[in-house]
């Protein structure tokens, strides 16, 4: 029997996959298992069920009945769907960036006021302990035309304030204004990012240029882009789902004149007021897809503008 000589080692041995050796991979899966199970139970299954219900007629009581694309067709021709989508888009498009800018400004201020920042941080977080419903009611009272304190003050200054939540032309803008409160979480996220910037890096920037805005634009902002991304994505997801304030202020019909009719309100009333779970599920599916696409788009562009501390070159 001829002895076949072994080929040179380098030629046959594959490069070892060091970071994911099999044992490690198994342990990894094991550690991730609770999370995977949780995801499946609380995210994947409801998602699939939603997709399914969206294709049925389901009036909550009784069994769902397959209707194919009927719910989506109904949506397409439902003025409330379009009106609320439009309102929600305007809401998100303005509320999110404005909120981000204000939160960033506040965070920059807080980051400077070192001695008091602990106190202010608490103060900024306090509104979160107030239920959104109560907050909205307070704002409605504050913004009452004529008798409300805000308009009394504005009129005293010689201004001609709008009817805020009562005027169909102003109501959506008022809702956007109200959405800027509270912004403690965004501020805290930014503040966390700012405080994560190494002191010496910030000092190096001070040595490189005397202008504050140089440092802000070229050093500080790029270094907190992960927080900007986070706040942006969360902000978009949340503002697409604006609900509590909208329903407290506008009820289920988006008073006045559907100016405050938001997507989630239409979805909610379809589900729990009209018992039209199929339509509600279809709306949820559309929202899911839109938000997913938006988020993916943002993440795709993020590669070019977000600096990750752990990232490669």
């Amino acid at each position: 029997m001829p002895i076949t000589s072994a080929p040179p080692e380098a030629a046959v041995l594959p490069r070892r996959n060091r970071k994911a050796q099999r044992g490690e991979a198994r342990a990894g899966v094991l550690f991730a298992l609770p999370w995977i199970i949780g995801m499946t139970l609380f995210v994947a299954i409801p998602l699939v069920v939603t997709f399914y219900i969206a294709q049925t007629k389901f009036q909550i009581i009784g069994a769902p009945k397959w209707v194919g694309m009927q719910n989506y067709e109904a949506l397409w021709s439902d003025p409330a769907f379009w009106k609320s989508a439009q309102n929600t888009l305007i809401f998100a498009a303005i509320s999110v960036p404005v909120k981000l800018i204000i939160a960033l400004g506040l965070a920059l201020l807080l980051n400077r006021a070192t001695a008091l920042s602990g106190f202010y941080r608490t103060v900024f977080y306090l509104p979160f302990l107030m239920p959104a419903v109560a907050g909205s009611v307070v704002f409605m009272l504050l913004l009452t035309p004529n008798a409300g304190p805000v308009n009394i003050a504005l009129e005293a200054m010689g201004l001609n304030p709008p009817d805020w939540l009562l005027d169909p032309k102003a109501a959506l803008w008022t809702l956007i204004l109200l959405s800027l409160w509270p912004l403690g979480v965004e501020t805290l996220v930014f503040l966390g990012g700012l405080q994560n910037i190494p002191k010496d890096v910030s000092e190096a920037a001070d040595l490189d240029s005397p202008k504050r805005w140089h440092k802000l634009v070229w050093i500080t902002l790029p270094l907190i882009t992960p927080m900007v991304l986070f706040n942006l994505v969360i902000g978009i997801i949340y503002s697409f789902q604006v609900f509590t304030q909208a329903i407290v202020i506008g009820g289920t019909t988006g008073t006045p004149a559907e100016a405050t009719l938001m997507y989630m309100v239409v979805l909610y009333r379809a589900a729990f007021r009209y018992f039209n779970m199929g339509l509600a599920a279809a709306m949820a599916t559309v929202l899911f897809v839109v938000v997913l696409i938006l988020t993916l788009l943002i993440f795709k562009t993020a590669r070019s503008w977000v600096h990750y501390e752990g990232g490669e070159t």
Binding site: D200, V201, E203, D206, L207, D208, S209, P210, T313
Partner: protein, 359 residues
């Protein structure tokens, strides 16, 4: 190239005074090293020069301009930080170019300056990388590049080499020395490392608890420490400080022997003897005797740590590899040439022997 002048500079953190009135002039083109124990205020003083810390009292002048109130970027200083402090989101090129661009330099000029600097520091092939993708030494060179590229009046280094391994440290040390020569720039350098201080410095500033203990050339602070603190701090292994009295016939050690050449009226003094100024001898001619407690064999030299009979300790540095065992009885003789004598107030006294070594 600028002069740095500090007059009466003080700094408080709350009620705690950490810089207690410092006067110092750094001549143009000079390389001055700040040394001192941890927490003595070296970094604080350096940062006050940079403008990163407020000056509570006193004045800071750079290139004859009062910059006490000026923002860091307008003082004509550049600083190299211990942890490099590179902008993590920028490539090495951008790190170097940032300050130039913000100062409004034209694109071509920026390119040229960055490339020149990179060549000088041999980092040209790193320019496209971000800090994450560089080794510590590479990052340090980029950090130095970022300081150099702006052609400042004064360079400030805060322990720039302390994160590097020994070999790299030596290499970077010589690179900084070379840069100092080539750029003929004024530099202030903070370090813990005696060798760094001794080899780099034109002058050394020894700081202790927010005060200057001595300013002098490396040889001055080594051979003529101004006081007990400097004597004990400079030099490794540290100088032996032996209690003694200064009598009419000379310096009398506590253990008996009298070393001639000086005279006094019986006041208590401290005799400072560098470990290499002690030699082994026979019991009869010994000034001091003790038991070997620890023997460090460093190859070309041997360091003996003795316990003296009176409870004191003595360190002896001997050339070559000396065969001795722990527990051995050792007899040593003091070479008064190069010895220092300190009065009861801790200040150095004039000692003829010491003069001779300087010559």
């Amino acid at each position: 190239m600028g002069m740095v002048q500090l007059s009466g500079v003080r700094k408080f953190y709350g009620a705690l005074e950490v810089i207690k009135g410092i006067d110092l002039t750094v001549e143009p083109g000079e390389l001055v090293v700040f040394v001192g124990p941890s927490g003595c205020g070296k970094s604080t003083l350096l940062r006050m020069i940079a403008g990163l810390e407020d000056v509570d009292y006193g004045r800071v002048e750079i290139a004859s301009k009062d910059v006490t109130e000026a923002p860091p970027a307008q003082r004509g200083v550049a600083m190299v930080f211990q942890n490099y402090a590179l902008y993590p989101h920028m490539t090495a090129f951008d790190n170097l170019a940032y300050g130039l661009r913000r100062a409004g330099l034209a694109r071509n000029a920026v390119d040229k300056r960055v490339q020149e600097t990179a060549a000088l520091l041999q980092i040209s092939d790193l320019l496209k990388r971000k800090p994450k993708a560089m080794s510590g030494g590479q990052r340090q060179r980029v950090a130095i590049g970022r300081a150099i590229v702006r052609k400042p009046e004064v360079f400030l280094f805060d322990e720039p080499l302390s994160n590097l391994d020994a070999a790299l440290r030596v290499e970077m040390r010589s690179q900084i020395a070379r840069l100092h020569q080539e750029l003929a720039a004024t530099m202030i350098f903070v370090t813990h490392d005696q060798v760094e201080a001794m080899t780099l410095a034109d002058r050394i500033v020894v700081l202790n608890a927010g005060r200057v203990e001595q300013i002098g050339t490396p040889r001055e602070v080594y051979h003529s420490p101004a006081n007990l603190f400097v004597a004990g701090f400079i030099g490794s292994p540290a100088m032996n400080l032996l209690p003694a009295t200064l009598g009419p016939s000379g310096v009398a050690l506590v253990s008996g022997p009298v070393l001639g050449g000086h005279s006094g009226t019986g006041e208590a003094v401290t005799l400072g003897v560098r470990p290499d100024r002690l030699t082994l001898t026979s019991p009869e001619s010994a000034h001091l005797s003790g038991e070997a407690k620890l023997i460090e064999h460093l190859g070309d030299e041997t360091i003996l740590h003795l316990a003296l009979a009176d409870g004191g300790a003595l360190t002896i540095k001997l050339a070559g590899d000396v065969a001795l065992t722990i527990g051995a009885r050792v007899h040593a003789r003091i070479d008064m040439v190069g010895a220092s004598l300190f009065g009861a107030d801790g200040r150095a006294m004039r000692l003829e022997g010491a003069r001779e070594t300087e010559a």
